[in-house]
């Protein structure tokens, strides 16, 4: 097992860890969503990743793409709400890039996540600054890409991505939402951290932890 590649075992560990971290933050995410949404984001995400993990645990995989494809399908059919199709699409598009791959380096991972993000934007039509998950995902994936271009190690790339996701997440606080339920609040949405941006950060954090970053 090398440190520069994501492989099937690690991919499964990632799913396990996402489930853990989302569960641990279930109430927190729901609380964020109750401030500017409808108080279900943590519940939805926890339900989805619990099912995704069940699915992944009950399967044998030969490539990373297949792991993420199962995650995508499960999220799509169990999360519901806005986050369901968005994260479903994210993992689906990423899995297509990783299809057939037994391992992925930083470059491939960055490409896969970029595809995922493009899917999210195509479906949800959110722009940067609309106070959504896109605000955490975009800088994180840009950081991954930059690190890949500089030939940095996988862990270093992920670490930088996580830092940027965290920054993007926190930067949603002053924003006025323009997409999703929070947009109905208008100015009143400012001052609250976006739940979806937060779950995106937590997912990245789980990936990092699973890979020992």
């Amino acid at each position: 097992m090398d440190n520069e590649h994501l492989d099937v075992t690690k991919a499964v560990a990632i799913v396990e860890n996402i489930k853990e971290i989302i569960d641990a933050n279930k109430e927190f995410l729901t609380k964020l969503d109750s401030a500017i949404g409808d108080a279900d984001h943590g519940i939805n995400m926890s339900r989805g990743f619990t099912k995704a993990l069940e699915k992944v645990r009950n399967n044998q995989y030969n490539d990373i793409g297949a792991v993420f494809k199962d995650v995508a399908m499960t999220l799509m059919s169990t999360v519901g709400g806005a986050a369901g199709p968005l994260y479903g699409t994210f993992f689906m598009r990423a899995s297509m890039k990783l299809a057939g791959q037994k391992e992925a380096d930083l470059t491939l991972l960055a490409q896969a996540f970029r595809e995922g993000l493009q899917g999210v934007v195509a479906l949800g039509k959110a722009q940067l600054g609309d106070k959504t998950m896109v605000d955490a995902l975009t800088p994180a994936i840009e950081a991954l890409e930059a690190a890949a271009k500089q030939g940095l190690p996988l862990k270093e790339g992920l670490k930088r991505a996580l830092d940027m996701a965290e920054k993007g997440m926190k930067d949603t606080i002053p924003l006025v939402a323009r997409k999703g339920r929070a947009s109905y609040l208008g100015e009143r949405s400012a001052g609250h951290q976006d739940p979806g941006a937060t779950s995106s950060y937590l997912i990245l954090k789980a990936i990092c932890e699973a890979l020992g970053v």
Binding site: T78, G80, A82, G180, R181, Y184, G186
Partner: protein, 332 residues
Amino acid sequence: MKKLINDVEKVVEESLSGLVKAHADLIKLHPSARAVLRVDSPKEKVAVISGGGSGHEPMHTGYVGYGMLDAACPGEIFTSPTPDQMYEAAKAVNGGKGILFIVKNYSGDIMNFQMAADMLAAEGIPVEQVVINDDVAVENSLYTAGRRGVGGTVLAEKIVGAKAEEGGSLEEVKSLCERVNANVRSMGMALTPCTVPAAGKPTFELGPDEIEIGIGIHGEPGRHRMKLKPAREIVEMLATPIVDDLPFKAGDEVLAFVNGMGGTPLSELYIVYNDLSDFLEKKGIKIVRNLVGNYITSLEMQGCSITLLRLDDEMKRLWDAPVCTPGLRWGM
């Protein structure tokens, strides 16, 4: 949290189970997907399907039956259903004349229905969607996810369902649905919040003498929070933006729909209707049809919404047409 439930994880499942047991003459559960289907969905009609988060009962599952919906896809409480539900429901009730999805305008609903529509279209099944967005509480809809779909949805499902029942084509049914949406406006208010079972805590807080004007059906905050007012003033605060928006004019014939949020007693809804009727009379707007009751709710929330639909002759005729569902029934 005090609720008549067994398990927060099973609220939707057990409630659906009770619903189909109580109305087995009208509806049944899809064998695999979470969807309520008409028992007698006829071939040779456009299948009208709706869905959305649960917690708004009787909408949508209670509107499946003769003259209204062919299927309804309930999500978890206040959470959009998933594409596989709409996909399976559509496959089950598809009679060959096509599928109309009636979708309330929420990001989640839009995306999930869109994915289902894509899946069906990929199989060559003709499918159309109409998005209902009648909530005038949402200002600046350019800078938001747009106006929400609220009370107008119930009226659209009834009128469009009747059109499909009498054999309208997919094109006709769709364009009627768009016409209903173009002529309907709503706004709601809350006296109290509601509690999503899985969350266990109220979705928002209101002081003992505070109300929220312009609330969404998931407890999304509205336009203003204010001190409790008499019903007459609340009616004015809800009806004025509704009337001004379309605008409804003197001489217009309307369906006036006073809806309870779930926890409001019927007696109060009739007081609201009484005040609304006075309000509209002063403006020369004529109520020629009405609906008063808890039809699109937010769990146990106390409060109400007002919906006005400008009627034309076809809509009137279709509103009066027989309907036989658990939640709305007349003429049979």
